[in-house]
């Protein structure tokens, strides 16, 4: 009885989550005439690679994909480089204003991104960073930072300081301790943070929309939104684009998901 309920639940969950993707893939392989029919056909009767071909030949999809990968990866590197020492400092070191800084960091989260967009753009322009990937990476790192700091901080807090004390008593320097003792223990947390940062950067629409104007620099969300808005809406091609976005993510996720769940757990809460 319980097994049946469990099986039902899991099936329903998988259906709810995965069916839209399946429909997207089915549409991606349907010829144009088969898409605008009622009743809708579940499976393409004519399997065609036309939509994909159009996507690659007539649009800069590959460029957008490459840009997204580049920008998101750079964001993760920058964010971790800044957040790991920052979070460690907020955890282990005592200095005046530590709590105030932590509180301020959360507060910066509450300002709607869409409203800082215009002054942000003006600032980027003054720094000569408009229409560059660097400007976008800085924007993303900045808005991933509060979350990254907070998440990493809870991970570091879950590691007993006695371990570090022990290592340092044995003669290791602080830096060595961090590298050899702390980071390995916090690795799930670092991976979780890195992954969340990657997603936030990968998914962003508004900063990319406003800060980038050259077509060859566009990231996927903006590229796909433009494909959708174009004068001729090509559902087959849009679905093909969506499908391709899915594939690398799928691969990464199956590999990383173990760390994600474990990572959240260790850093989630104390006690």
């Amino acid at each position: 009885m319980r097994r049946a309920a469990l099986a039902c639940g899991v099936a329903a969950l998988v259906f709810f989550v995965a069916f839209p993707f399946a429909w997207m893939i089915a549409t991606a392989f349907k010829p144009s005439h088969q898409i605008f029919v009622s009743p809708p056909a579940l499976l393409p009767s004519e399997f065609t690679l036309d939509n994909l071909a159009r996507l690659f030949q007539q649009t800069r999809f590959v460029t957008y994909l490459a840009n997204s990968v580049l920008v998101a990866t750079a964001t993760v590197v920058l964010t971790l480089a800044v957040a790991v020492p920052g979070a460690y400092s907020l955890t282990r070191y005592r200095f005046r204003g530590r709590e105030a800084i932590s509180a301020t960091i959360l507060f910066t989260y509450m300002f709607a991104p869409i409203m800082i967009i215009v002054p942000f753009y003006v600032l980027m322009r003054a720094l000569g960073l408009v229409n560059t990937h660097l400007g976008l990476v800085l924007a993303y790192a900045t808005f991933c930072l509060p979350f990254a700091l907070w998440l990493l901080r809870t991970f570091f807090q879950s590691i007993p300081p006695e371990l570090e004390e022990a290592a340092m008593t044995d003669g290791a320097s602080r830096a060595q301790t961090v590298l050899r003792v702390v980071l390995p223990l916090a690795l799930p947390g670092v991976i979780a943070t890195g992954t969340f940062t990657f997603i936030l950067a990968w998914n962003d629409y508004i900063f990319a929309r406003v800060l980038l104007s050259a077509d060859e620099l566009k990231t996927l969300p903006v590229g796909i939104a433009d494909l959708y808005n174009a004068s001729v809406v090509d559902w087959g091609m849009i679905m093909a684009a969506g499908m391709l976005v899915l594939v690398p993510v799928l691969v990464v996720f199956v590999i990383v998901q173990r760390y994600l769940v474990a990572g959240w757990g260790a850093g989630g809460v104390k006690g």
Partner: protein, 444 residues
């Protein structure tokens, strides 16, 4: 995977190898995002670069909704592109703020008499031409000729005729008591409702703002227009307020609706692509001339004609002017026009009469669509969005903000969806518009 790696490498290489060359870069923004038009513009840019070493042309196609915010953001930051498309009312607004340079040199190169009069009235101020339309196309009342013939329907001369036709064309084809094909389909988004309202008020002999910039939403002509929209949309598919422009085309060739009030020439390409093969032609989908309202005398249609604008703050205006001259030369302009031939009307009489243009296969196939558009243009029945009379272009620089505010659309939705009486909805919109115009200093 290899492709991505290659793209990444190419990107890296490009990033490294782009030194600050002594090259003049002119940036050109346009709104024709369909792939073949984009390619045409890029080809023209490449040919121009070949003829003008030392000049690089960066072309970018922007989606409609993004164009205006981007123009504004770039102006605010002091780095506008050299050239950009824009709506006629945007051009007028920017010109009124002194942000544009005149394009008379290009006009002269094309031949002033060679350009259609209608086109010259767009964005003209102080005797100078501040915007030069890239191509013109009017809105069209598209209908199912086969169904209309079967039902014996005549071209509608008045709004009442159109409603009668819409009612007749709402058909229950499978006998289950529910309509399977609706009389008419209309897009519900802000831009198109504004376009619709502008057209209809003009066709009803009314105005939206008087000479003192006071909104006239309580006038009889506007109230009749609101009632008409409400009555007409009774024959639109339910949920039409959520239909975008492209969806209305899908409704038409997907046989969910029999008429489109706001069709455009580019629909011909969409029909050829999406309709069942035996129906994808002008014998099945034809156009009627739009009817006029009870208080009006002649039809009115909106003209989709974005002018090229040249920005004063741009770095290389001279080269931009040369590019525009090059753009309108026959071999280049023809290539561009042929990407959406039923929608893109050349602005020059020379190209319009040119045999290569006339021999374009699509034009041959959809002749009736072209003829109706020409009729509107020749009889001066076509105007840009929200423009009732040509003076509005210079006298009413706030139309762009009126469009963006959505107040007029909210008014229409109040009447049609919220079922408010036209008078009440109009009064509310009037108040909001007055407040907005006052805060911007256009109304005392």
């Amino acid at each position: 995977m290899v492709r991505i790696a290659a793209a990444l490498l190419a990107f890296a290489a490009g990033a490294i190898c782009l030194p600050a060359q002594a090259q003049k870069v002119i940036r050109v923004w346009h709104t024709e995002t369909q792939p073949n038009s984009q390619e045409a513009v890029k080809n023209i840019a490449k040919r121009f670069e070949a003829k003008n070493p030392g000049v690089k042309v960066e072309v970018e196609a922007l989606a409609w909704g993004d164009l205006e915010p981007r123009i504004m953001a770039s102006l605010a930051a002091g780095t506008p592109p050299e050239l950009s498309h824009g709506q006629p009312i945007t051009c007028a607004a920017l010109q009124a703020k002194g942000l544009l340079l005149p394009l008379d040199e290009v006009v002269k190169a094309l031949g002033e008499a060679n350009i259609w009069d209608q086109v010259k009235r767009v964005c003209r101020a102080g005797g100078k031409q501040y915007g030069l339309v890239h191509a013109a196309g009017t809105s069209l009342l598209i209908y199912r000729k086969d169904l209309a013939a079967k039902l014996g329907l005549k071209p509608p001369k008045t709004w009442a005729d159109l409603i009668a036709n819409a009612r007749a064309l709402t058909l229950d084809t499978n006998g289950d008591g529910k309509p399977d094909i609706y009389g008419i389909t209309i897009p519900g988004d802000n831009l198109f409702i504004n376009i619709l309202l502008g057209e209809l008020v003009k066709a009803n002999g009314g105005i939206l703002f008087d000479k003192q910039n006071r909104p006239q939403l309580g006038s009889r002509q506007v109230l009749e227009t609101l009632d008409f929209i409400r009555d007409l949309t009774r024959y639109a598919p339910p949920g039409w307020e959520g239909h975008g422009y492209l969806e209305t085309f899908a409704n038409l060739y997907g046989q969910k609706a029999a008429m489109m009030y706001q069709g455009y020439g580019r629909g011909a390409s969409l029909i050829e692509k999406g309709a069942p093969r035996e129906m994808a032609n002008a014998e099945t989908f034809d156009v009627w001339v739009k009817p006029h309202g009870p208080s009006g005398k002649s039809p009115a249609a909106q003209v989709d004609e974005e002018p090229w604008m040249l920005f004063k703050a741009a770095k290389h205006p001279k080269e931009a002017i040369e590019f525009l001259k090059f753009f309108y030369q026959k071999e280049n302009y023809l290539e561009y026009i042929q990407t959406v031939p039923i929608h893109f009307f050349p602005i020059t009489k020379s190209l319009r009469g040119d045999k290569d243009y006339l021999a374009t296969p699509m034009i041959q196939r959809w002749k009736s669509w072209i003829e109706v558009q020409e009729q509107y243009l020749n009889k001066d029945q076509g105007k840009p969005t929200l423009v009732i009379d040509w003076e509005d272009m210079t006298a009413k620089p706030y139309l762009m903000e009126v469009l963006g505010s959505g107040i007029l659309r909210d008014m229409v939705m109040d009447v049609v969806l919220e079922k408010k009486p036209a008078k009440e909805a109009a009064a509310r919109a009037q108040k909001r518009l007055e407040e907005m115009l006052k805060s911007k200093g256009h109304l005392k």
